[in-house]
Amino acid sequence: MKEKDIKIIEKEMKLANEGLPEMERDLFADDRPSRIEPLNKYLEQFLNWARARSLWILAYGTGCGAIELRPLMTARFDAFRYGIAGRPTPRQANVFIIGGYASLKTIKRIVRSYEQMQGPKYVIALGSCTINGGMYYDSYNTINRIDYYIPVDIYVTGCMPRPESLIAGFNGLKKKIQAGQCDGMNKYADNFDWYKANQKQIIKDWNMPDYNW
Amino acid sequence: MIETLILGFILLLIGLYAMLSQKNIIKIILGFSIADTGVHIIIVSLGYLKGRRAPILDSAVDIANSVKEVVDPIPSALVLTAIVIGLATTALMLVFAAELHKRKASFSIDDYKELKW
């Protein structure tokens, strides 16, 4: 297929946004996320080097793990010395820390915030609950595996993991980034329909567009 | 003649006082009449010269010398006209009074205040 045709098809592949009332569909973008290929090898390496040293956490404490983020930033552990800083808006952050269990209510917000982050973006899943549900494995109200819903780059296990483990997790993330292995954004775009189906399966009051730009 | 002049003024003041103090329309009209009469007396007494006759040129007056014998005729002439006019005014007032009474059965001037401010 010619490049031109691909573009046309992409344009036609709009999201249906069926969860929204008719009136509101005009107010939300309906583009699909698409795969972004890496740039020139050396340039990409340079950028990854910088990305690894400038990690901006989205200031959104999704579960009880959020409590660990405060000591992380303050004088005791001082994550800022590694270039790890908090950002108040997902538009600017590039690291999303899922702080433990995610209730059904929260997963909706997690998805929305994750989609609003501009890639490349990385997810750190904190605590056991994000892996297999942990102590809430049989709760009617929490999800058991976060990576059914958004791609996760690194897990930090424990209940709760201490800030030291979290810093270790960050170091792992740094290494992955520098190696160019963190490609969650493209993973999400490639498997978009699968992720969406999973999300829609558990989120009942879906009053948002299919992709929150 | 100063006495009649004073009398005229007294009548005039009585008339005015009546117009100002009486509530009854008829009495007000009477007051006006009295005041008017006072004015007439004032006019006549202003033209009066002591010891002279009325300014009527009949057999009793020597026509050639009349200027020296009769009083000033003009005030007398004026007063005649004034009386006529006063009469007309009074008559018209009475007509109004009658017409007003026909409508409201009241002669009190206080009852005719529907227009104000």
Partner: protein, 1038 residues
């Protein structure tokens, strides 16, 4: 010459014959009735004709074969002929007006009517005092009797009250006459040749008081009001016009007998009557009674004018007294007639007049005439009267009269606005075209023609100065054409007018060309936006062209009167244009009141100004005269009212907001500049002939605070047009302050800013007009996100607000640079700081304007909004283009402006290539533009290079604390955007000036209401007033 006795004889005979003829046929008696009135009119007409043809002096006619003083004699001069013709004409017309009524009622009506006219004629003609008494009695008795033509409780009781008052008056008159005879030995006015001093004073005093009572002077006039209210419209007309005129003329005749101190007091009583009856009229809601108040007021004015013009040359005196007289005669007759047609008492019920177009126009004409607007006779009379009063140093009288006049304007125009804008339902009783309507129209036309006649013949105005009126009339004739054709014709006419002025009139001063560009070119471009009108837009273009041509006349006016005439014409046109707005009632009234107050200040100011030498335009003429301080202050104040300076700015936001969308831009961008033009003219006169007291220093402060307060007020508005209006106020403050500096750089910046403001404010207003046209709302918080729907409007607003704010590289920075340089150079440091503050505050409202309309969240209801119509876009982009050119090449403008200002001051600004040097700094507009473009392009390319894959998202794709927005309304930050600033300002943020004016209005109404309580409705109280009046005035005089 027909012997005047025939006037009396014909009437008396008719009185006897009519009952006989009536036996035969009512038609016959009616014909005779009209015949008599017609004969009177024709006879007096012949006299008038005769006197105009040849100077006959005054003729005396004696009776009974003797000559005066043995017999009664009649005097007939041009004055008598003129007054007689006027009242007989009105008598004839009113007779025709009442025909139907007479046809239905008893014969007595007709006879009484003839008697009234006869009494009036006799009173005017006779020179014998006692004869005058007789005629006066005939007049009053027949008047009172004719009141009963309408037989209601009210009319009867009011007639009775009238009777009591006139009875007392006749007693006074009679006594006075007799005492005059007693003291002087004569009853003939021509032969009474003694001085009425010491105790003899009482004689003439009583006569005079009797006449004042009959003239219904304040406060002895309660009965007259009742009569006006209750009687038939036609009868009210003859009381107001014929009756009063005859008595006023009688007063004029006995004036030589009165000592001067009493005359002065009577004059004051006249002026006071004018003031008080107009003040009391403020609270009036009954139309007929309101006309009564106005009528009484006009009589007071007439009396004052008769007394205070005594020393003037006869022609001028006739101009003044005759002007007031004719004005009252025509306007009041017309209004009383209309009141008869309306058959409604309440002022607000007069809206039925809208069912008859020509009657409505006539109503307007009468109102404008009564309020003393050109071209009606009252305007000229008032102008000359104020001038002559000033020459006689009668400041008190001027104050009384002008204040009274202001009150009159207030209630008259409130009534007018209520009438033409009131809600009118088609199914209400409407006025069918009838003879009466035609008669009224005839009268209105007569008044209009008379005014034009005075204008052309007495003053000999140039064609250019009548052009505003002519254009109004002409476009009214072609008003049936579609708006677009009229608009294009207007544009063509305007273009030719501009060309004509430029080539043929030859401006004397380049400043005229600058303001010509602002007034005429600005108007021309603004006019394009009016082409969007799809309906016929009746009357719109006529008024618009009237206003524009008045601007032109202001430029070339050579005398104070020419200037003032054009100014008033401009006021009329702009008032009516504002009134066209949908909810413009309050706004237009406020505009009118403030305009007229300003006009009166100007009138007095011009009165104080010395005569101009030569016949060059004011801008040259004023340079050579030394204006006295009081004149400078009054004139400047008058002009500043028109420009909306702090303190008198309250009309400005209302008028701007409520006028039609495409009119607002004219008002803001151009009309305010007319005030600036006037202010500049005054300033020019001060440059070489400065007064002792540095009044301009304080005006500078006033301008500076206008700028600051205007900016703050603009920031707190929710209504886009009000915001722009306050912004205009703020900008005008800058200009006023800059002119007040009286320095070269100051004036250059004032000129620069004037032109700039015209351009960007036009563009802004037209853009907002386009937005309003599409969204149908002016509340900014109801809009939002329109940038996507109206990108062209957005760009023009963007460029304009950058120009307003003074951000480089656009032309606004030039004005700011010039301004601050000039302020610092002049030594006005703190003023400069306040201006700095003001211009920083201006960012608040500018951002609010563009954000709340074009940015942020679009509303559901504006989903299908389209770009503004092309007619709105074209003028905006003409202005934007001009702004861009002037921004890039500022020297195109700075050089000629500097040359203009250096006519008056030494230039201290050096222009070298694109560099402009002042003594403090320099500025290179061209280089700034280039550097700005450079630094703009570099990051732009950088961004395009690095941005990656862009997804264009929609308005709800925002981060919302992990939620989604509820609705556009709750997401758009617009309402009360600067609440925190308001809170920070605390007590400084309260609308104190607004409260002050509201308080004043309320106070005036309360005072009016308080004073009118003296009219208790009780006949006896009125009698008491008369007696007290008699006593108090006497002791005042002694």
């Amino acid at each position: 010459m027909v012997n005047p006795l025939y006037l009396i004889i014909i009437s008396l005979m008719a009185g006897f014959v009519l009952p006989l003829l009536d036996r035969v046929n009512r038609k016959l008696s009616l014909a005779t009735f009209i015949g008599v009135l017609l004969a009177n009119t024709v006879i007096t007409g012949f006299w008038m004709h005769g006197f105009i043809q040849a100077d006959l002096g005054t003729l005396s006619f004696s009776t009974a074969g003797f000559t005066a003083p043995l017999s009664i004699n009649f005097q007939l001069g041009i004055l008598e002929a003129f007054v007689l013709l006027a009242i007989n004409l009105i008598g004839l017309l009113t007779g025709i007006y009442l025909l139907k009524k007479f046809n239905e009622s008893p014969l007595a009506g007709m006879i009484l009517f003839i008697m009234v006219v006869m009494g009036a004629n006799g009173l005017i003609l006779t020179r014998d005092l006692f004869n005058a008494f007789v005629f006066m009695e005939i007049l009053s008795i027949s008047t009172i009797a004719i009141i009963t033509l309408k037989r209601t409780n009210e009319s009867l009781s009011s007639g009775f009250k009238y009777m009591l008052a006139s009875g007392i008056a006749s007693i006074f008159f009679l006594l006075g006459v007799v005492f005059i005879y007693f003291f002087s030995g004569s009853l003939n006015l021509d032969f009474i040749n003694i001085n009425f001093t010491d105790y003899r004073l009482i004689a003439v005093y009583m006569v005079a008081i009797a006449l004042l009572i009959e003239l219904k002077m304040f406060p002895v006039n309660g009965w007259a009001l009742d009569v006006y209210e209750s009687t038939d419209a036609g009868v009210a007309t003859i009381i107001s016009v014929i009756n009063s005129t005859a008595i006023a003329f009688m007063f004029y005749k006995i004036m030589p007998l009165l000592p001067s101190n009493f005359l002065y007091i009577f004059g004051i009583i006249g002026a006071l009557t004018y003031l008080m009856s107009n003040l009391m009229g403020l609270k009036q809601e009954n139309a007929r009674r309101l006309l009564g108040y106005s009528s009484i007021g006009q009589m007071g004015l007439l009396l004052a004018s008769i007394i205070f013009t005594a020393g003037l040359e006869p022609v001028l005196r006739i101009m003044i007294v005759g002007g007031f007289f004719l004005n009252h005669l025509i306007a009041k007759t017309g209004l009383f007639w209309i009141s008869g047609l309306i058959k409604k008492e309440k002022l607000k019920d007069w809206r039925v007049i809208r069912s008859n177009k020509s009657l409505m126009i006539m109503f307007g004409i009468f109102i404008f005439a009564l309020s003393g607007f050109p071209p009606f006779a009252g305007f000229w009379a008032k102008w000359e009267f104020v001038k002559s009063l000033l020459a006689g140093q009668n400041i008190l009288i001027i104050a009384l009269i002008l204040l009274g006049s202001l009150f009159e304007v207030i209630y008259m125009f409130r009534w007018f606005i209520q009438t033409v804008k009131g809600e009118y339902k088609e199914d209400e009783l409407s006025i069918m075209p009838s003879g009466k309507v035609i008669l009224t129209t005839l009268l209105g036309t007569l008044g209009f023609g008379l005014g034009i006649l005075i204008m052309k013949n007495y003053y000999g105005f140039n064609f250019l100065f009548t052009l505003p009126i002519l254009s109004l009339l002409f476009i009214y004739l072609i008003d049936f054409l579609p708006a677009k054709i009229k608009g294009i014709m207007s544009l063509g006419g305007l273009a030719y007018y501009g060309y004509y002025l430029y080539t043929l009139v030859q401006f004397e001063n380049p400043i005229q060309i600058l303001f010509g560009v602002i007034f005429l070119v600005g108007s021309g471009v603004n006019l394009i936006s009016t082409l969007n009108r799809s309906e016929i837009s009746k009357g719109f273009y006529g008024l618009l062209m009237m206003m524009i041509f008045s601007f032109g006349s202001l430029l070339i006016a050579r005398s104070y009167l020419e200037f003032f005439l054009s100014w008033e014409l401009m006021t009329i046109a702009s008032f009516l244009l504002i009134l066209r707005g949908k909810n413009a009632q309050k706004a237009s009234l406020m505009y009118m009141i403030f305009s007229i107050a300003g006009a009166y200040l100007m009138m007095v100011g011009f009165g104080f100004a010395p005569e101009l030498i030569g016949s060059s335009a004011l801008i040259t003429g004023l340079t050579y005269v030394q204006l006295p301080l009081i004149s400078i202050i009054l004139l400047a104040l008058g002009f500043m009212i028109k420009s909306g300076v702090l303190g008198v700015h309250v009309w400005l936001p209302e008028a701007h907001a409520e006028a039609e969308a495409d009119v607002s831009s004219f008002i803001s961008a151009i009309l305010l500049k007319a005030g600036i033009w006037g202010f500049l003219l005054v300033a020019i006169s001060v440059v070489w002939n400065a007064p002792q007291f540095d009044v301009y220093y304080w005006m500078g402060w006033l301008g500076v605070f206008t700028a600051l307060v205007g900016a703050f007020l603009a920031s707190f508005q929710e209504d886009a047009k009000r915001l722009l209006a306050y912004s205009s106020m703020s900008q005008v403050g800058y200009i006023i302050a800059a002119i007040s500096m009286l320095s070269h750089l100051g004036w250059v910046s004032a000129f620069y800013l004037s032109l700039n403001h015209m351009m960007f404010k036009s563009a802004l207003f037209i853009a907002i007009a386009g937005v309003y046209y599409r969204t149908h709302t002016r509340n900014m918080y109801e809009m939002g996100g329109l940038i996507k729907k109206m990108p062209l409007s957005f760009i023009s607003v963007l460029i304009s607000i950058i120009a307003v704010s003074g951000v480089p590289p656009l032309s606004g920075f030039g004005s700011k640079w010039l301004m601050y340089s000039s302020f610092i150079e002049r030594g006005w440091y703190l003023q400069a700081a306040v201006l700095f503050f003001a211009s920083a505050v201006s960012f608040l409202y500018l951002y609010r304007l563009i954000h709340t309309i074009f940015l942020g969240q679009a509303k559901y209801e504006h989903k299908d909004v389209k770009e503004a119509p092309v007619w709105f876009i074209i003028p905006q982009y003409i202005f934007i283009g001009a702004i861009m050119v002037l921004s890039t090449f500022p020297n195109l403008l700075i050089k000629p402006l500097s040359a203009m200002a250096s006519q008056y001051f030494n230039s201290n600004i050096v222009i070298d290539g694109y560099n402009v040097y002042s003594s403090y700094g320099h500025w290179n507009g061209n280089l700034i533009m280039l550097v700005t473009m450079g630094v703009f392009i570099v990051p732009l390319f950088f961004l395009i290079l690095f941005i990656g894959k862009i997804t264009k998202v929609k308005q709800f794709n925002i981060v919302y604390a992990a939620e989604r927005p509820e609705s556009p309304q709750t997401t758009h930050v617009a309402h009360n955007m600067y609440a925190h600033y308001r809170k920070a300002l605390g007590g400084w943020g309260k609308p104190r000036i607004w409260d002050f004016w509201h308080g004043s209005a309320e106070w005036a109404h309360t005072m009016g209401d308080f004073f009118r309580r003296i009219y208790s409705g009780n006949g006896q109280t009125y009698l008491l007033h008369i007696i007290l009046f008699f006593v108090v005035v006497f002791f005042l005089g002694v």
